[in-house]
Each structure stands twice: as structure tokens, then as C-alpha cells.
């Protein structure tokens, strides 16, 4: 009886892991696309609204969904109440504490983008945004191609891995 309960628990856990990893891939694509949207809004804010960075990020937080909104909201809040920290530090904090599903390589690109926030002129900001948007476009296209294949693989791995562990421990 205990063996059966254990097996069910192991299976539930491993299938859960499989489903989580398969969903994580699509969450990453969604978050990247949402980041692209946010960056395009920021670009327009810089170009036409001439808003301060804090205001612009506040506006972006209202216009984006998922975890990205939280990142920009906390960044905007931190900028408004900053006590001598650089914009880059605040940006890093916002990215690190945000509930987003981006991978380490995406984080590195956003980190690079953060280094140019509030640095030099309007053109510099726009170039940095353009670079980040181009990266997101390329990455999202590649990820979407892989995504379907990987989703199936992660689910099967979850189920078969669970069965294997259950058999080994039986």
C-alpha cells in the first residue's frame, strides 16, 4: 500500500516537473515578446513624450502584462526613491527580483541594456533599445521553432523518468 502511494507521489512529481519545464519554454518566449513591447514603448516615450525615465517606466508598467509589468513598476518606483544608486544597479535589482522566466543569456542582454539606461544622449538610448529588440526578435524566432519539439520531449521525459524512478525504488 505504501509502495503504491509512493509511486503515485513520485509519478505526480515527475509529471509535474515535465509539464513545468515544457511550460517554462513558452513562458520565456511570452516574456521576451512582452519585453520587446515594453522596449518599443520606452523608445516612443523617449522620442515623443520626453518623459523622465521613472515616468516612462511607470507608463510601461501600466501597458504591459505578465511579470514584465512588475519589473518596470519596481524599476520606476526605485528610480523615484533612489538614494544615490545608479540606474544600472536599480535595473539589475528590478530584473533579479522580478517574476520573469528569462534565461541567463537573455538576462545578459537586458543587463547590457541596463548599463546604457540614462547614459549619454537620446540616440544612444535608442540604439541600445534597437539592439535589445533585435536580439529578442532573433531569439523568439529560434525559440518558437524549438519550442514544440522540446515541449513534447519534456513531457515524455517527465512521465518516463517518473516510471523509471518508481521501478528502481520498488
Amino acid at each position: 500500500m505504501f509502495k503504491l502511494i509512493g509511486t503515485i507521489l513520485i509519478m505526480t512529481g515527475s509529471v509535474g516537473f515535465g509539464v513545468y519545464f515544457s511550460a517554462k519554454e513558452s513562458f520565456r518566449v511570452q516574456d521576451l515578446l512582452e519585453f520587446k513591447k515594453a522596449l518599443l514603448i520606452l523608445s516612443s516615450e523617449i522620442e515623443y513624450m520626453r518623459a523622465t525615465l521613472s515616468e516612462a517606466c511607470g507608463n510601461i508598467a501600466k501597458r504591459t502584462g505578465l511579470g514584465i509589468s512588475g519589473v518596470f513598476a519596481s524599476f520606476s518606483h526605485a528610480l523615484a526613491n533612489s538614494e544615490g544608486e545608479t540606474a544600472y544597479q536599480l535595473w539589475r535589482n528590478a530584473i533579479d527580483t522580478g517574476k520573469i522566466f528569462i534565461a541567463a543569456e537573455d538576462r545578459a542582454v537586458l543587463d547590457d541594456f541596463g548599463k546604457t539606461i540614462g547614459y549619454l544622449d537620446k540616440q544612444m538610448q535608442k540604439n541600445a533599445i534597437e539592439y535589445a529588440v533585435r536580439y529578442i526578435d532573433e531569439k523568439a524566432a529560434t525559440l518558437q521553432k524549438q519550442s514544440d519539439k522540446n515541449k513534447k520531449m519534456y513531457r515524455s521525459l517527465g512521465i518516463i523518468g517518473g516510471l523509471l524512478i518508481a521501478v528502481v525504488l520498488w
Partner: protein
């Protein structure tokens, strides 16, 4: 020897083969090889004691 060991080994064999195929189709050949090796090592661990018993029996049977 417990007969359930045979069934366990068979199940591990089937599952490792399927895992291997799934990983290979996903383009993860290295992990597929690792899983296969892990399966072989695991089963060897299970049967190594029994093989030692078999040799001990053979020795006593033929008085070697």
C-alpha cells in the same frame, strides 16, 4: 533469487530504451548516452551479487 528482480531489470531496460529514443529525437545525444550508461551500471549493481553467487555455486558443484 527473487523473480521480481527479473521484471525490474526488464522494466528498466524498456524505460531506458524509450528515454534514449526520446532524448535522441530531441537532439540530446550526449544525455541519451549518459542515460544508457546509467541504466547499465544500475542493473550491473543489482546483479553483481547474484553473478558472484553463481560462480561460487559452480565452484562448489565442480569442486574447483
Amino acid at each position: 533469487m527473487d523473480i521480481s528482480l527479473l521484471f525490474q531489470i526488464a522494466a528498466v531496460g524498456i524505460l531506458v530504451t524509450v528515454l534514449n529514443q526520446v532524448l535522441k529525437n530531441g537532439g540530446r545525444d550526449e544525455q541519451a548516452t549518459m542515460v544508457t550508461i546509467a541504466g547499465i551500471v544500475l542493473v550491473l549493481f543489482w546483479i553483481v551479487g547474484h553473478i558472484a553467487d553463481l560462480f561460487a555455486h559452480l565452484r562448489t558443484m565442480f569442486e574447483l
